[in-house]
Amino acid sequence: MMALPYITEHTGFTGTVYATEPTVQIGRLLMEELVNFIERVPKAQSASLWKNKDTQRLLPSPLKDAVEVSTWRRCYTMQEVNSALSKIQLVGYSQKIELFGAVQVTPLSSGYALGSSNWIIQSHYEKVSYVSGSSLLTTHPQPMDQASLKNSDVLILTGLTQIPTANPDGMVGEFCSNLALTVRNGGNVLVPCYPSGVIYDLLECLYQYIDSAGLSSIPFYFISPVANSSLEFSQIFAEWLCHNKQTKVYLPEPPFPHAELIQTNKLKHYPSIHGDFSNDFRQPCVVFTGHPSLRFGDVVHFMELWGKSSLNTVIFTEPDFSYLEALAPYQPLAMKCIYCPIDTRLNFIQVSKLLKEVQPLHVVCPEQYTQPPPAQSHRVDLMIDCQPPAMSYRRAEVLALPFRRRYEKIEIMPELADSLVPMEIKPGISLATVSAVLHTKDNKHVLQPPPRPAQPTGGKKRKRPSDDIPDCKVLKPLLSGSIPVEQFVQTLEKHGFSDIKVEDTAKGHIVLLQEAETLIQIEEDSTHIICDNDEVLRVRLRDLVLKFLQKF
């Protein structure tokens, strides 16, 4: 969602954006923090000449290896954020949203964050699921809705864990023990993090942990322009939380224990390091602040402040950035660095379990999930394994799905339905020919009974010759069946034809009506009436033939 303003504000996009309420509110906070961090350090000039491909080629690594530099953009402003968010229409889980009458879109809980969604896009006969950023672990959000993903024709799978080898539970344990160790030795702990998401779980773990670890006197600081909002918002989205947290609201108690940490003054939050924080600041302490890339935000000050002492520790929990690259500009560093990335999104074992459970006909995913990670090419377990093999896509590539649409829903008006005459063709299968007027409005199709033939208008207008020309688009039904010659001849005789002669041919018979100079060729699948231009006769013969055939 973080790139939304680029689409809604700069591409001429005029459509509606759908999102859940927590996604909008927390997304706003994340963007607000980003804008705030960037705007604190305005750049007088920005270099762009190096982005020229010929120049970039000559630059040292990592500049040389940066991809798609020409598409890099400046950060948006708060105004653009607000404008982008105003285009969002709020939706709830399992809400069916009709789009142009043609498809229905439904968000489902993905279990990863507050309000995070997977989406189902379906018509009456096809179903596509988009699964992105999902988690099967029990953390704070509502559990992932897997049942609704069943019977998908296509499942698009992306947003898997960035750290498939790390177990989030183990990482949380490591996080707590390292934190405690540092603080006990009189050092400070720095946790570079986003202002929402995993931090709620970390605070909850610490809430349970600090008393047993004897850390109850250590202050925890949460510094972000949106720290307060984030903590407050997390408490009001009870409907989007896991069952355990929901039941707390019934008591009524705040769903997250960080409310208690704040009440007891163990956790304090500040918009920035300036102002109140500088008065309250006590060491040793634990600081949660952003940005996790260590390139901007208040975290930079703490890196500078604490980097030189080996008593202090920085603990990386966000998986989005390589911690070695993040630390590079701060080297040499005396501070201890611990890497415990916590990424609760699906790993490959969970993916195969999920796919077995929901059994989509086809799986579509980014190319990198179909092969082992480049650094660990022997780990064939670190890729998507499913039958039929997943189809992969690359940036800006159009993928054709092996999948044909065959049917669409149409409604038959009750009056028309009453007039239909079904006939049983085979046991259990009935047919009815339908002639009806098709009305299509808002992509909804309705069949109405055909209008009664219009009464002649009483000769007000002179008939033009072209009025007589029949409309060739009035379709006659198709015919099926075959004509038994003997019975046909009997019928002819009954209707007054005499002098009938039947000749056998290779494929059937020829019935000759000598008097009328008429020839009727009858074969298994065809009948050919050859006659003089005598319309009355022809129509009579036609109707006799039709009696033997079924119309469709």
Binding site: G92, Y93, S94, Q95, Y125, S229, E232, F233, I236, V249, P252, P254, R406, Y407, E408, I410, E411, I412, A417, L420, P422, I425, K426, G428, I429, S430, L431, A432, T433, V434, V437, L438, T440, H445, L447, P450, S466, D468, I469, C472, V474, L475, K476, L478, L479, S480, G481, S482, E524, D525, S526, T527, I529, I530, D532, N533, R538, R542, L549, F552
Partner: protein, 599 residues
């Protein structure tokens, strides 16, 4: 003919014990399960024997839906599920689920502990009953079973109040519960999309009232409270713990702050404090303004309003007290009322509707001598004011909702018969839809004619749609196809496809007509003349002259041949299939008339 049946077991031409049975598409749904405040005998609960005389509740009902937490909508629930016996699902929104058991427990305490009633439901029954509840989110489509689905819309009446759409196939019913079409100090306005239900069941509490602007009422209210407090009087505001109470608290709180008033404001019972907690946690259910500002200041954290203690009622000096319940029929509000009723200086403000039989209703209808329990007579000297703060839609609001939803029929409940009559006429006039107002136990039956959904093959549909784009598309055109019915699977396909699928061969019926023409020229030239003649007559058709000398009109083949006996006569062989019957027949008669003389 399929039909929808509606039978109110409560709230039919009445306010109280809302309970409406709906049968739709073979499913039975019970809407609300309330108690009646005006009665304390059997009549306080809906008459479930209407169902049970034919069998068990669980067998009959597919689900129960509770619109909001007011007791006249949920008060009979534990009796219904635990004492009469119902084990199916009960749907309600999350705030309702949170608050409902507290009000039920409160109700039970008053009935059992204070009035000493036996054979009432127990605390455990309330708990067991709540275990059967399934929470519904706004706009979420809940699939009760394969066919029955329900969807909640925001109703604004109290925290968590919802309107429900009940849908089976293409038939649907919307039940509004209680709703409010104007946003107030703490809640937003009810909203529903143009869902065009077969039936809209709406409340009609204020069927004949059109209320003045909310601002005036608020100003009036504040003025009256202010005046009374200024002259040292006490103000009693009987409220229900949740809903109006919060709105009026926000109103008084801001007024006190602005005017810097010192007189204390109290809130009776711990329940309300707890209630405010719920409001804090369910911020997404409140109005825009509160949702936007709650981070800076949670509107439900009151500075001036303190908890009430029973002893305060006797202390001298001015004060404002919010006390429960709202209709002065029992509990603390009635106790305080008895203490203060004797003084002209005091005032009681009734901010909501009072059900017949309650003390509130009596004093509002002008009664000044009240007979209390134990034959005591209470003389009411204090001022009695009524201010409609109830968050029900007024006549204008009801019409507005009917306009929004565009139902085919309307059914009125939760109102007084006389007023309903008036609204019924108005709805029938303005929207030209049938309007019903059944009494309790009376059944309304509507026949519906749902259309039948079938699958149409995309090929056939696209072919038709493409032709629909042609210039003469205005003319209604016939779509021709074959409906294949196999088990319950209905598909509409083109006739060709139907034949193919069933493994049947097409039987081609072809006609060839000999048309004799008098023409001395060669066959080729005759063909050419036929071609130019047809070309000029049949402008809308595709007429072609093929290299082999034959002429085609669409798929009709015309060949010229020499007559075997008469060289001055040529024979035109016109050949077409049954599918081109009309055109072929037309062509032969056209050619029979002869060709125009070549110029």
């Amino acid at each position: 003919m399929p039909e929808i049946r509606v039978t109110p077991l409560g709230a039919g031409q009445d306010v109280g014990r809302s309970c409406i049975l709906v049968s739709i598409g073979g499913k039975n749904v019970m809407l609300d399960c309330g108690m009646h405040m005006g009665f304390s005998d059997d009549r306080r609960f809906p008459d479930f024997s209407y169902i049970t005389r034919n069998g068990r509740l669980t067998d009959f009902l597919d689900c129960v839906i509770i619109s909001h937490f007011h007791l006249d909508h949920c008060g009979a629930l534990p009796y219904f599920s635990e004492m009469v016996g119902y084990d199916g699902p009960i749907y309600m929104t999350q705030p309702t689920q949170a608050i409902c058991p507290i009000l039920l427990e409160d109700y039970r305490k008053i009935a059992v502990d204070k009035k000493g009633e036996a054979n009432f439901f127990t605390s455990q029954m309330i708990k067991d009953c709540m275990k059967k509840v399934v929470a519904v989110h706004l706009h979420q489509t809940v699939q009760v079973d394969d066919e029955l689905e329900i969807k909640a819309y925001y109703a604004g009446h109290v925290l968590g109040a919802a309107m429900f759409q009940i849908k089976v196939g293409s038939e649907s019913v919307v039940y509004t519960g209680d709703y409010n079409m104007t946003p107030d100090r703490h809640l937003g306005a009810a909203w529903i999309d143009k869902c065009r239900p077969n039936l809209l069941i709406t409340e009609s509490t204020y069927a004949t009232t059109i209320r003045d602007s909310k601002r005036c009422r608020e100003r009036d209210f504040l003025k009256k409270v202010h005046e009374t407090v200024e002259r040292g009087g006490k103000v009693l505001i009987p409220v229900f713990a949740l809903g109006r109470a919060q709105e009026l608290c926000i109103l008084l709180e801001t007024f006190w702050e602005r005017m810097d008033l010192k007189a204390p404001i109290y809130f009776s019972t711990g329940l309300t404090e707890k209630a405010n907690h719920y409001y804090k946690l369910f911020i997404p259910w409140t109005n825009q303004k509160i949702r936007k500002t709650f981070v800076q200041r949670n509107m439900f954290e009151f500075k001036h309003i303190k908890a009430f203690d029973r002893a305060f009622a006797d202390s001298p000096g001015p004060m404002v007290v919010f006390a429960t319940p709202g209709m002065l029929h029992a509990g603390q509000s009635l106790q305080i009322f008895r203490k203060w009723a004797g003084s002209e200086r005091n005032m009681v403000i009734m901010p909501g509707y009072c059900v017949q039989g309650t003390v509130g209703h009596k004093i509002l209808s002008g009664q000044r001598k009240l007979e209390m329990e134990g034959r005591q007579v209470l003389e009411v000297k204090m001022q009695v004011e009524y201010m409609s703060f109830s968050a029900h839609a007024d006549a204008k609001g009801i019409m507005q909702l009917v306009g929004q939803a565009e139902p085919e029929n309307v059914l009125l409940v939760h109102g007084e018969a006389k007023k309903m009559e008036f609204l019924k006429q108005k709805i029938e006039q303005e929207f030209r839809v049938s309007c019903y107002m059944p009494a309790n136990g009376e059944t309304v039956t509507l026949s519906t004619s749902p259309s039948i959904p079938v699958g149409i093959s995309l090929g056939l549909l696209k072919r038709e749609m493409a032709q629909g784009l042609l210039p003469d598309a205005k003319k209604p055109r016939l779509l021709h196809g074959t409906l294949i019915m196999k088990d319950s699977n209905f598909r509409l396909v083109s006739s060709e496809q139907a034949l193919k699928e069933l493994g049947l061969a097409e039987h081609q019926l072809r006609f060839t007509c000999r048309v004799h023409l008098h023409d001395t020229r060669k066959e080729q030239e005759t063909a050419l003349r036929v071609y130019s003649h047809l070309k000029s007559v049949l402008k809308d058709h595709c007429v072609q002259h093929l290299p082999d000398g034959s002429v085609t009109v669409e798929s009709i083949l015309i060949q010229a041949a020499a007559h075997s006996e008469d060289p001055s006569t040529k024979v035109l062989l016109v050949s077409w299939t049954y599918q081109d019957e009309e055109l072929g027949s037309y062509l032969t008669s056209l050619l029979k008339k002869g060709l125009p003389q070549a110029s």
